[in-house]
Amino acid sequence: MNYQSYAPSTYEHDGKSAETRNLKPGELSTGTTIMAIPFEGGVVLGADSRVSTGTYVANRVSDKVAQLHDSIWCCRSGSAADTQALTDYVRHYLSQLAVETGRAPTVKVAAHLMRKLCYENKDNLMAGVIVGGWDPVEKGSVYNIPLGGSCIKMPFAIGGSGSTYIYGLVDSEFKEALSKDEALSLVKKSISHAMARDGSSGGIIRTVVVTESGNEREYVPGDQLPYGPAGW
């Protein structure tokens, strides 16, 4: 076997991020910060709003939190086209299932469907999704579905390119059994910090609070972010 052919002769960094390298020319990226935290009685989902192609910001106020069913939502990161298509499919399957079973589907089922699509088409997709919502069986729950198509139920989930900058912050600030307001302020704080340091995240912070009684959508304008980089 000729091993020499496998080793590159020189290695040069091409300046692109891992994410951008996988995008087709002109394809939109939701290089992003997304987050979801369950609390007593529901789930808080949050996201930034920047959509970029390379350095050009295609949309500075996009909505990355999509509704899959009455009380099931998902945060999208990765290729905008891929995640929109996935969301549409899962929304369709969930509505069919609700008709067949006669009741609202659970968050677990939504996450399972999303994961099935992500895993079986992993070669052609670039999508990291966080599915969160409320159902009468598990109450508030959050499932993280990163790039490869694994699906893990988590006590909280962060994702997207900006999430790498806030792992330490969220790990230190998170505690079990948060109240709704505590969870909401943690989401806003964390996403602000990520937007401050990640070039692919920015704009406004969109949040959705999902409870048994319904959904509350809010946003924090870009000039009223609670936090910025320290010392500025």
Binding site: P105, K108, V109, H112
Partner: protein, 267 residues
């Protein structure tokens, strides 16, 4: 008895002038000639029971099952053509497994029943296929709603949910007996529990065999209840024996009571 098909009964894709599909009715006849199957939805679980006539003295007992598990949380009892029943059981297993693979959760009771009913119905539509000569009694549990259900699918493809149902040879007297049980009381606490249900079903089966024909038969029983951890399992053999002994004793006592009454009335 039955009106003559006279030409409208050759294919299941032909209606008769009075709006019947004879082939489907004939399929139901096949079920009516077979061993009795009973199902009972109790307050804390579902019990299934099938009477297997032992046609051959050489038969190994407890082989040739009529009751099958289709998933941990559901089981089906079949009566009629046993080989047709195998098809339904296999299809039910596929449905359960596919549903779980697609949606990540156990198939709800009604969805399972509806899908199997659609499957059975399909065979009543095509000219080249014949209907199933089997009735299937499905016991299932939904872990999300914590609800248990009993459904029966007939050869025509109709499926209903029941408190109690019977199919096969002795279904008419069985239904009369089942209606006497406490299964649908408004105060749910009064409804029969599974242990009592097992005994009552054993009694009903033995009641049907009462008239000294003495044909040997085997009793197959299963339950899906709190006691079984909401898993479809065979009722423990020693409990079946206990139930059968109680049943025989109870029948004898009722007979004596009734014959005493008759004697008094002669005066």
């Amino acid at each position: 008895m039955a009106s003559s098909g006279s030409g409208y009964d050759l294919s299941s894709s032909t209606f008769s002038p009075d709006g019947r599909i004879f082939q489907v009715e004939y399929a139901s006849k096949a079920v009516e000639n077979a061993g009795t199957a009973l199902g009972l939805k109790c307050s804390n679980g579902v019990v299934l029971c099938v009477e297997k006539p032992l046609l051959n003295k050489m038969l190994l007992t407890n082989s040739s099952r009529r009751i099958h598990s289709i998933d941990k949380h559901s089981g089906v009892a079949i009566t009629g053509f046993v080989s047709d029943g195998r098809q339904i059981v296999n299809r039910a297993r596929e449905e359960c497994s596919n549903y779980e693979e697609t949606y990540g959760t156990k198939i709800p009771t009604k969805v399972l029943g509806d899908r199997l009913a659609s499957y059975v119905h399909y065979f009543t539509l095509h000219g080249s296929l014949r209907p199933f000569g089997t009735a299937a009694l499905i016991a299932s549990y939904d872990p999300e709603t914590k609800d248990h259900a009993l459904q029966m699918i007939e050869p025509s493809g109709v499926s209903y949910q029941y408190y109690a149902c019977a199919a096969g040879k002795g279904r008419q007297p069985a239904r009369t007996e089942l209606e006497k049980l406490n299964i649908n009381k408004p105060d749910k606490a009064e409804n029969i529990n599974v242990r009592e249900g097992v005994k009552q079903l054993a009694r009903i089966i033995h009641l049907l065999h009462e008239d000294g024909k003495d044909k040997p038969f085997e009793l197959e029983m299963s339950w899906l209840c709190e006691e079984s951890g909401w898993e479809h399992k065979g009722v423990p053999r020693d409990f079946i024996k206990e139930a059968v002994d109680w049943a025989k004793k109870d029948i004898l006592e009722t007979e004596e009571y009734e014959s005493d009454e008759d004697e008094e009335m002669e005066d």
